[in-house]
C-alpha cells in the first residue's frame, strides 16, 4: 500500500470514536479523531483527509453545520453521516447538503467500514 488514506472520525462519544478509529487503523487507514464539531471542522478544512465519518449530534457545532461549511470548500470529499433513527429530519438535511451516505446508530464498525469502502470507490 502506498500513502495511507486519512479518515476523519468526528464523533463525540469517546467509546464509539475510539472503536471506529481502532477498527479503521486495523484496516490500514490513518485516522484523525475529533470529539466535537469545532475540532471536526478544523481537521476537515486543514488536513488532507480522504473521507469523513460525521456524527450529527456533537457539541459546539453539529454535523449539519460542519457539512455546510465543508461542502463549498471540498465538494467531492466523501462524507458518511451518523444519525439516530428518531431524527429523520437531520438525515434529510444532511443528504440535501451533499452527504454521500449515512449510518443509523447503533451500528457495528464493520458496517461502517463497508460503507466507507463504497464511498471511497475501493470496492
Amino acid at each position: 500500500m502506498t500513502e495511507k488514506q486519512i479518515i476523519l472520525v468526528a464523533e463525540d462519544d469517546p467509546g464509539l470514536n475510539r472503536l471506529i478509529s481502532f477498527k479503521l487503523q486495523k484496516e490500514g487507514y490513518q485516522v484523525i479523531s475529533a470529539l466535537d464539531g469545532k475540532e471536526a471542522l478544523n481537521a476537515a478544512l486543514n488536513e488532507n483527509v480522504s473521507a469523513i465519518t460525521l456524527d450529527i449530534m456533537m457539541p459546539f457545532l453539529d454535523g449539519i453545520q460542519v457539512l455546510k461549511k465543508v461542502r463549498p470548500v471540498k465538494p467531492d470529499l466523501p462524507v458518511i453521516v451518523l444519525t439516530v433513527k428518531s431524527r429523520e429530519n437531520d438525515l434529510h438535511q444532511a443528504l440535501e447538503l451533499g452527504a454521500n451516505a449515512y449510518m443509523t446508530k447503533p451500528f457495528q464498525p464493520e458496517q461502517l467500514i463497508e460503507k466507507l469502502k463504497q464511498v471511497l470507490g475501493s470496492i
Binding site: 464509539l16 472503536l19 481502532f22 477498527k23 428518531s86 446508530k105 447503533p106 451500528f107 457495528q108
Partner: protein, 370 residues
C-alpha cells in the same frame, strides 16, 4: 314528541351544566338542541349562538389529527352514531374548532338517543379537552426516544469492543478467554434485546392519548410489511404469501398498528422452521370489519397457553420457545393496540402443525368517490 324531548332536555340540562365535559344534544338531522356550559368554555360559542345549527356549520368541524375534515356524512362520527345507531366503544381523539380559530384536541364519545318507545329522537356528543394530557404524552414519547438512544449507545459500543477482542484484533486470546468473552457477548446481546422490548413497552404503556387517529391506508401498510417480512422469511427458506385486498382503510394509528402486525408476522416467522407463512386481509361488508389473517406452519401454541400469551411477560414454557429469546412483551402490546382500535384477535393453533392469528378491526373499503 319534539316538545317532550325538549322538556326532557331542559330537565337534564341542570346536570349537564355542572359537568366539566362538553355535551351537546341534537335532533336526528344533527341540529343542535342543547349545548352545555362546558361546551361553551371549550369552544368559545354560547348556547344561543349554536342552537339550530349543525356542528359542521363552522362550529366544531372535527378533523382527525392530521387535519382532514370529518364532516362528510360518511366520516362524521355523530352521523355514524345516529344513522347506524352505533355508540362509540372507545372515545375518538379529534380536533375541534374554537371560536377564535384555534384547534382544541378533544376526546369524543357519541351515541344515538331514543325515546321510551324506542323511536330515534337524536344524538348526543360528549367531548373532553385533552390538549394538556396529549402534551404530557408527547413529552413522555420524547423522553423515551432519548432514553432509548442513551441506553443503546453504550450497549452497542460494548458489543463492538467485545467483538474486537473475540476477533483477536487486540492480540491473541486463549480458548478459555474466548469462551468467557463469547458468553459475555451473548449475554450482552440478550440484554440489548430486552431493553429494546421494554422501551417499546414503555412507549405503549399508559399512552392512550398519544394515539394518532387518522384515516389510514391499511392496504399500503400491510403491503409494506409483507414486503419487508418476505425477505426475512426468505432467509429462513420459508414461503411467504400475501393476499391483501385493495382500498382497505381505517381510522387509527399507523405506527402502532404497524408494530402490532409486525409482532404477529414476526412471531409467525420466528416460530416456523419449515413450510410457509401467509398474510391475508379482506373486508367484510356485513360487519364493516377488516379481517387480517396471519397463518404459519410452525410449532403451534399449546391449548393451555392460548389465553396467557397476551399477558405481559408471558412466555410458553418450552425449550424451543425459550431458545428463540424474547421477553413476552410483543403480543401484549399487540393486543393492547388492537383493542384500543376497537378490534379483537382470534387464535387457532395445532401444536406441531401451525398457528393462525386473525385480527378483526372496524374499517372500510374506500370507494372511488372517497
Amino acid at each position: 314528541m319534539d316538545a317532550m324531548f325538549r322538556k326532557e332536555i331542559s330537565h337534564v340540562s341542570i346536570v349537564f351544566n355542572q359537568i366539566k365535559d362538553g355535551v351537546y344534544i341534537t335532533d336526528p338531522d344533527r341540529r343542535i338542541l342543547f349545548w352545555n356550559k362546558a361546551a361553551e368554555e371549550i369552544t368559545g360559542y354560547s348556547q344561543e349562538e349554536v342552537l339550530g345549527k349543525k356542528c359542521a356549520d363552522n362550529l366544531l368541524v372535527h378533523t382527525d389529527l392530521a387535519g382532514n375534515k370529518l364532516c362528510s356524512t360518511d366520516l362524521c362520527p355523530l352521523h355514524k352514531a345516529i344513522s347506524y345507531e352505533k355508540a362509540t366503544t372507545e372515545p375518538l381523539i379529534v380536533k375541534a374548532l374554537h371560536k377564535n380559530g384555534s384547534r382544541v384536541m378533544v376526546e369524543v364519545s357519541l351515541a344515538a338517543l331514543h325515546s321510551a318507545s324506542g323511536e330515534l329522537i337524536g344524538g348526543i356528543e360528549i367531548f373532553r379537552d385533552v390538549s394538556e394530557k396529549i402534551e404530557l404524552e408527547e413529552q413522555k414519547a420524547r423522553f423515551f426516544s432519548s432514553l432509548s438512544h442513551e441506553l443503546k449507545t453504550p450497549l452497542s459500543n460494548m458489543q463492538g469492543y467485545l467483538k474486537l477482542l473475540l476477533d483477536g484484533d487486540a492480540g491473541e486470546i486463549n480458548d478459555l478467554q474466548e469462551e468467557f468473552l463469547t458468553t459475555i457477548y451473548k449475554e450482552e446481546q440478550k440484554l440489548a434485546r430486552y431493553i429494546e422490548e421494554l422501551l417499546d413497552m414503555g412507549q405503549f404503556e399508559g399512552t392512550d392519548y398519544s394515539y394518532q387517529q387518522n384515516m389510514l391506508d391499511l392496504t399500503a401498510l400491510l403491503e409494506s410489511l409483507a414486503n419487508s417480512f418476505s425477505a426475512e422469511a426468505l432467509n429462513k427458506e420459508l414461503d411467504f404469501n400475501s393476499n391483501i385486498e385493495p382500498d382497505l382503510a381505517l381510522f387509527g394509528d399507523r405506527e402502532r398498528l404497524s408494530q402490532a402486525f409486525s409482532n404477529i408476522i414476526g412471531n409467525a416467522i420466528k416460530y416456523t422452521e419449515q413450510g410457509s407463512v401467509s398474510l391475508k386481509a379482506v373486508f367484510s361488508e356485513a360487519d364493516d370489519e377488516i379481517g387480517i389473517t396471519v397463518q404459519d406452519s410452525g410449532i403451534g401454541i399449546p391449548e393451555k397457553d392460548r389465553k396467557s400469551i397476551f399477558e405481559m411477560f408471558y412466555r410458553v414454557d418450552d425449550k424451543d420457545v425459550r431458545s428463540k429469546g424474547g421477553t413476552g412483551v410483543g403480543l401484549y402490546i399487540t393486543e393492547r393496540v388492537i383493542s384500543r382500535h376497537g378490534g379483537r384477535i382470534e387464535l387457532e393453533s395445532i401444536p406441531g402443525e401451525g398457528t393462525t392469528f386473525t385480527v378483526y378491526l372496524p374499517g372500510l373499503k374506500k370507494t372511488q368517490e372517497q
